[in-house]
């Protein structure tokens, strides 16, 4: 038990010093000094509650993804049927109840229609994304499979995360965290951000730009009543635009989406000084845009952003260059935001903010300072009590405690964990509780000495007998720390991390390290009696 060969001593010291050294960059930083850039510098990240900043939890609605897929499928089917030779005529198209259903005018076309649709039902993966049913020999019903929807949500969330990251990168903030959480959520954390509203405006905008033809046949009274002619839909004007408060009817299909953009720029219209956004299509998008404008010269088309009309100008002439300018009563900020959003791509699914936390920067600095002071006083009190009670053994426990704190900080830095405000409480608890192992051991040594055991035997028994309770006690602590870890992200997670790592390092320093100290001293001094 008290036998420490050289290799063991060396490896224990190496472990202790290596882990403790990892704490150095963080300590230097907290002290307000600069860590030399040339040296490796794993640093403890400060949580938002200490650094200040914004936390957003964004959620996509599965229903939106379903509806979007259904609309895409309808468009695909219509195109397939129209382009078939000979053309397959269909009617009574409905998307009610989350299913796409339509009738073939000629029942004999059924196998041809199936043959055309079926290849589109399988996505890039092997998942069967759609279910095709034939009703009464003439009606085709396409319904989305659960697996297909889940796959679509998964894909949408992956690309949404990417889009959000690109948008936030454009803000040029330091070290933002953007991660997917669960099936339909994205966590965004931006430390030190001064203006959380700008962040929200940016990530909250779907930026789905659409160009749709205006349905001139719709009766104004019907539009007002919200009744759209077949094949059209009613879209309201965006607030702030000249048409705000009213709506227009646009053709549901046959428009184009602003997905194929190569660039978007906020500009000022030289003629009237208004803020506008100019966009440039890629080759494919440009061709589509040219076709749409060529075929519909003289008719109005609506520019729709996230389901609201920005404007509905007349197509005076075909637009062939793949460039366009969008105006819509923008402010310089909103035109800039829209340009960023369009550049980084539209969100494949709208995201809603379901949780938002903002912490002012002053509070965090204050918390760190007060936390450090409290930690310092607490540590000194614990150290004084330990030395007064256990003498030499208390000094060993103190050295172990110092290494414990350093190793805990170092391992957190190495693992890239975040120190949160409750994490500071975690540090203090760790300091107060880490010496428990030493208390258990030293009390046991006292007891064994009182029973008349010789020094070496008493120390050996003390370590051996106390180890069992130390092991059990710390294991149950680990269990409750794990239960704490259930709280996904954020401050509480930071607390759990400190407790968890602290339990492990405290057993190492409190039991193993002090045993080495004690063994070394016993070997050298060979005392007949010990003061404990």
């Amino acid at each position: 038990m008290l036998d420490f060969p050289l290799w063991k001593k060396l490896s224990l010291w190496a472990t202790t010093l290596a882990a403790s050294l990892l704490a150095l960059p963080s300590l230097v930083n907290v002290a307000g000094l600069d860590w030399p850039a040339a040296l490796p510098s794993p640093q403890v990240n400060l949580g938002l509650d200490l650094a200040g900043g914004s936390h957003l939890l964004l959620e996509a609605k599965a229903a939106d993804v379903r509806a979007q897929r259904l609309e895409n499928m309808e468009e695909t089917v219509r195109q397939l049927m129209r382009n078939a030779t000979p053309r397959i005529r269909i009617g009574d198209v409905s998307t009610a109840g989350g299913e796409l259903s339509f009738i073939l005018e000629n029942a004999a076309d059924i196998d041809r229609a199936r043959g055309l649709i079926e290849p589109t039902m399988q996505g890039a993966t092997t998942v069967r994304e759609w279910e095709l049913k034939v009703v009464d020999g003439q009606r085709i019903v396409l319904s989305q499979t659960e697996a297909g929807v889940n796959q679509a949500i998964d894909d949408a969330m992956d690309s949404a995360t990417e889009v959000v990251r690109r948008r936030i990168d454009e803000l040029g903030t330091r070290e933002p965290t953007i991660i997917r959480q669960g099936d339909t959520r994205i966590v965004v954390q931006v430390p030190g951000l001064q203006d959380p509203e700008a962040l929200k405006a940016l990530v909250g905008q779907t930026a789905q730009l659409e160009f749709k033809l205006v349905d001139l046949d719709a009766l104004p009274t019907n539009i007002q009543a919200g009744i759209a002619p077949p094949g059209s839909e009613i879209v309201p004007y965006a607030p702030g635009t000249p048409g705000a408060g009213s709506a227009i009817a646009v053709k549901r299909l046959g428009g184009i989406r602003g997905d194929n953009l190569t660039g978007a720029q906020a500009e000022r219209d030289p003629q009237n000084g208004q803020s506008v956004v100019s966009i440039a299509f890629d080759a494919q998008g440009g061709a589509k845009f040219a076709k749409l404008t060529t075929e519909n010269v003289g008719k109005p088309f609506a520019i729709i952003l996230d389901g609201q009309v920005l404007s509905a100008p007349n197509i005076n002439e075909p637009i062939l260059g793949g460039r366009a300018q969008i105006s819509g009563s923008f402010t310089p900020e909103s035109s800039n935001n829209l340009a960023i959003s369009l550049r980084s791509g539209a969100l494949p699914v709208p995201l809603a903010v379901v949780e938002e936390r903002t912490v002012g920067p002053d509070l965090g600095a204050d918390s760190i300072r007060k936390g450090l002071i409290a930690m310092g006083i607490g540590s000194l009190a614990v150290i004084a009590l330990m030395i007064a009670t256990y003498g030499r053994f208390g000094i060993y426990a103190t050295v172990a405690l110092v290494f414990n704190v350093l190793m805990l900080l170092g391992l957190m830095a190495l693992g890239g964990f975040t120190l949160s405000l409750p994490g500071i409480a975690g540090f203090v608890i760790t300091i107060g509780a880490a010496v428990d192992a030493n208390v258990l051991i030293n009390e046991r040594i006292r007891e064994e000495r009182a029973r008349g055991r010789k020094v070496i035997a008493a120390v050996e028994t003390g370590y051996k007998e106390a180890s069992r309770a130390i092991f059990d006690a710390n294991l149950t602590n680990l269990i409750s720390a794990l239960a704490l870890g259930m709280f996904g992200s954020g401050p509480v997670r930071g607390f759990a991390v400190v407790l968890f790592i602290g339990i492990i390092t405290s057993v190492f320093t409190g039991v193993t390290l002090t045993r080495m100290f004690v063994a070394g001293w016993l070997r050298k001094a060979r005392p007949n009696d010990i003061t404990i």
């Binding site: 909250g204 379901v354 936390r357 912490v359 509070l363 936390g371 614990v382 269990i479 704490l484």
Partner: protein, 325 residues
């Protein structure tokens, strides 16, 4: 050098003599806590209640003008706001419930938050916004479920662990001690109406871990003594075990206590509730491992014969090998 001894050698306090009155006291405290939680309810923060919470510091004043704030914000027409001191006397948290139907509408919440801030700043130029949280009803509900699940899971898991490492009676004893500690901590929050947030749940989970430390140390010694003193009466054996570990119990509780006290009084104000919960839990937990966890063993019929080393498969093989069986 004369060393400090908080608990003199050969201390022999007859703890178990008073086990019935103290047990009754514990039951009364547990029941009282449940009643307090039932009647007063817990002052759920925005984490669990959802809504909009603004935290502010009045940098130019000793104490925050809470009554006047309450009146002004109630005037905004979003119902009765919850305005509480939060940490320091000049810091407040202002919570406004989201109007019906807008629980999941972040823009509505944002607008309310902005209105609250503007209202306060109009009257108090020294008001500094420390934080602004919006939690939708859905997310708050998830936090509630998570918190309940985490608490139950932690209590069950550690009890099962004790059961496996000791005997079932010890597992039940530990579970009972935990219910005691958690109930009383909740009762304190119901009585004081301090804000009950995710942080407090974290504190309770930490209490579960650390209160169990004491229980385990006492149980470990009881187990050891059960094997050592086969003829001893159970009450005396428990007293002996508690007394033998008393120095350690006092010392450990004291080190944690003196580490926490500076944090409670000089630490970040927003940690006050959490640290207060842990400090109270520390005392309650120490008490419960002496007066709940111990006596329960007697009542569940643990006797000095309970730990007669049972014949394991290995022993049996050994005996067979020696031709004894």
């Amino acid at each position: 050098m004369k060393l400090l001894k908080l608990v003199p050698d050969n201390t022999n306090i007859q703890f178990l003599k008073l086990r019935v009155p103290f047990f009754v006291l514990s039951l009364v405290l547990i029941l009282g806590s449940w009643i307090a939680v039932g009647v007063n309810g817990l002052a759920f923060g925005v984490d669990f209640a959802g809504g909009q919470e603004v935290r502010m510091t009045f940098t130019g004043q000793q104490t925050a003008p809470i009554p006047s704030l309450r009146e002004k914000i109630a005037g905004l027409g979003y119902g009765e706001p919850v305005v509480q001191e939060f940490g320091a006397p000049n810091q407040v948290s202002i919570r406004v419930a989201l109007p019906e139907g807008t629980e999941d509408n972040p823009d509505a919440a944002k607008k309310i938050g902005e209105q609250v801030i503007a209202t306060v700043k109009a009257d108090y130029a020294d008001a500094r916004v420390d934080g602004n949280d919006t939690v939708s009803g859905k997310v708050a509900g998830e936090f509630r479920n998570q918190a309940i699940l985490a608490l139950l899971a932690a209590m069950a898991a550690v009890s099962v662990y004790i059961w496996v490492r000791f005997e079932w009676q010890f597992g039940v004893g530990a579970m009972f001690a935990l219910v005691h500690d958690v109930s009383i901590t909740l009762g304190m929050f119901a009585l004081t109406q301090w804000e009950f947030s995710l942080q407090i749940v974290a504190a309770i989970l930490a209490i579960i871990g650390y209160s169990l430390n004491d229980t385990i140390v006492v149980y470990d010694r009881i187990r050891e003594n059960l094997k050592k003193f086969r003829k001893m009466e159970m009450g005396a054996l428990l007293d002996l075990s508690v007394n033998e570990t008393l120095a350690r119990t006092v010392m450990t509780s004291l080190t944690l206590f003196i580490a926490l006290i500076p944090l409670l009084f000089f630490g970040p104000p927003s940690l006050f509730g959490m640290v207060a919960a842990i400090t109270v839990g520390l005392f309650v937990g120490t008490y419960s491992s002496v007066y709940m966890a111990g006596p329960l063993l007697i009542w569940m019929g643990v006797t000095t014969n309970s730990f007669v080393p049972t014949e394991t498969g290995l022993d049996k093989q050994e005996k067979i090998a020696r031709g004894e069986a």
